[in-house]
Amino acid sequence: MHFRRRPKSSAFATEIGLTSFPSPAPKRRDYISQKALRSGGGGGRDAMAESLPLEMLTYILSFLPLSDQKEASLVSWAWYRAAQNALQEQPGLTSLDLSGCSELTDGALLAVSRGLRRLSLGKLQRLTDAGCTALGGLQELQSLDMAECCLVRGRELAQALGCMHGAPSQLASLSLAHCSSLKSRPELEHQASGTKDACPEPQGPSLLMLRALQELDLTACSKLTDASLAKVLQFPQLRQLSLSLLPELTDNGLVAVARGCPSLEHLALSHCSRLSDKGWAQAASSWPRLQHLNLSSCSQLIEQTLDAIGQACRQLRVLDVATCPGINMAAVRRFQAQLPQVSCVQSRFVGGADLTLTL
């Protein structure tokens, strides 16, 4: 039997199949190309709900609200599995905050919905590297907070976040503050001695793959070495960075970070006791867009540092130099005169400040 379509010149109704339909409006075209399709042989087999593939059943159930998915999961084993899959594909859930739920372990990450854009896992102190691999399934993830996940060492995390099924990672905001187990990769431990090419590039997964990163918090990741920070912190789009409480960070590291992250607007370097005027003299000029700067408790900074920063970072609005013994109030006042638009300078307990408390 040949079923051939021809352009019709007048509209008419036909009965097709089991019910009648109005025929489609006649189309006028100068040329119609035809293609032949040959169907499979034999009569129809009885397709039943029993024989639906799992992915199909999952897709069907994903159209239903949660309550119906729950009922569906009680129908049979196949429907149970499909409903569990559908649960993971909740497209509506984009932001999930599990921070502080300290009883949660790695298993929690496996149940997390795949459409998530923002995920907070702060203070989940039982999370380990094994759980981090599950994060690779979150292809829409833009913001991840893993502060105080102190068992996470980093390798699996970098691997999960960096390889998003071939597409580049969209992660824009990442906090690993106080992840005290976070370690550098061993090959980045070499100190660059003289020649710049002495350090090998990191092979395999590393934070470098997060090219869309705009915010990064590495506060108190005390195991990260200066050399590895210098190698890894190369993010041209990075706007906010915290390297506070990293006693390993030296001037060399600072200069490398400055060159690698020139778009910084917010920078926190409090309690980085090895940073000195020498580092800032070179680094300041790389950060013309800096607006917020926290240098509190950087014990080696001196007045000249403040001058150098004031000259180079003309867009600065907020500066914190509290408890910097090497800076005095005169320097702070000079700085404010240099940059009148600075709206806030924290200068508690700087050198020479009056320490008497008024009760």
């Binding site: 039997m1 040949h2 079923f3 051939r4 379509r5 097709i16 199949g17 089991l18 019910t19 339909f21 489609p24 119609i32 190309s33 035809q34 293609k35 032949a36 399709l37 040959r38 169907s39 499979g40 042989g41 034999g42 009569g43 129809g44 087999r45 009885d46 397709a47 039943m48 709900a49 029993e50 024989s51 639906l52 199909m56 897709y59 069907i60 159930l61 994903s62 159209f63 239903l64 119906d68 729950k70 009922e71 569906a72 999961s73 009680l74 129908v75 049979s76 084993w77 429907w79 149970y80 649960l87 497209p91 509506g92 984009t94 149940a111 459409g115 829409e140």
Partner: protein, 158 residues
């Protein structure tokens, strides 16, 4: 291999709604004119193929479906009236259309068939779902259903 199959001649533009067929045509370098070898579709029987062609014909001028999955809420109450009538068929045919739409990769047809099936599941208890689809409850033992219910409850409480 092709014994018993029927041949349908269809407008190319209509049939390109099927990504599968479109890909076959592009891969085999078949241009619009000339080649008359029929495209074999062994997974789709004649009756279902006829209905698929009918659906594609009606939807020929639809805008193409969005490529990237949009994170908007999925719903089942937006099936066009024509499609609702079109899908008033026995269950077997409905599932066959569903599987055919999947095999032929016709997103619009896949979505309306899935939504139609979802509407048959909507607001039903497990017993009613069993009856509707003639399904077997293979949870072994009387305690199992209670256990699954408990697990579901824990999921909700988290």
């Amino acid at each position: 291999m092709h014994s018993g199959g029927e041949i349908f001649e269809v407008d190319v533009e209509i049939v390109k709604q099927s990504v599968t067929i479109k890909t076959i045509l592009e891969d085999l370098g078949m241009n619009d004119e000339g080649d008359h070898d029929p495209v074999p579709l062994p997974n789709v029987n004649a009756a279902i193929l006829k209905k698929v062609i009918q659906w594609c014909t009606h939807h020929e001028d639809d805008p193409p479906p969005p490529k990237v999955y949009e994170n908007k809420e999925k719903r089942t109450d937006d099936i066009p009236v024509w499609d609702q009538e079109f899908l008033k068929v026995d269950q077997g045919t409905l599932f066959e259309l569903n599987l055919a739409a999947n095999y032929l990769d016709i997103k619009g047809l896949l979505d309306v068939t899935c939504k139609t099936v979802a509407n048959m599941v909507n607001r039903k208890t497990p017993e009613e779902i069993h009856k509707t689809f003639n399904l077997k409850n293979d949870f072994t033992g009387p305690g199992r259903e209670a256990q699954v219910q408990q697990e579901n409850q824990r999921c909700e409480e988290k």
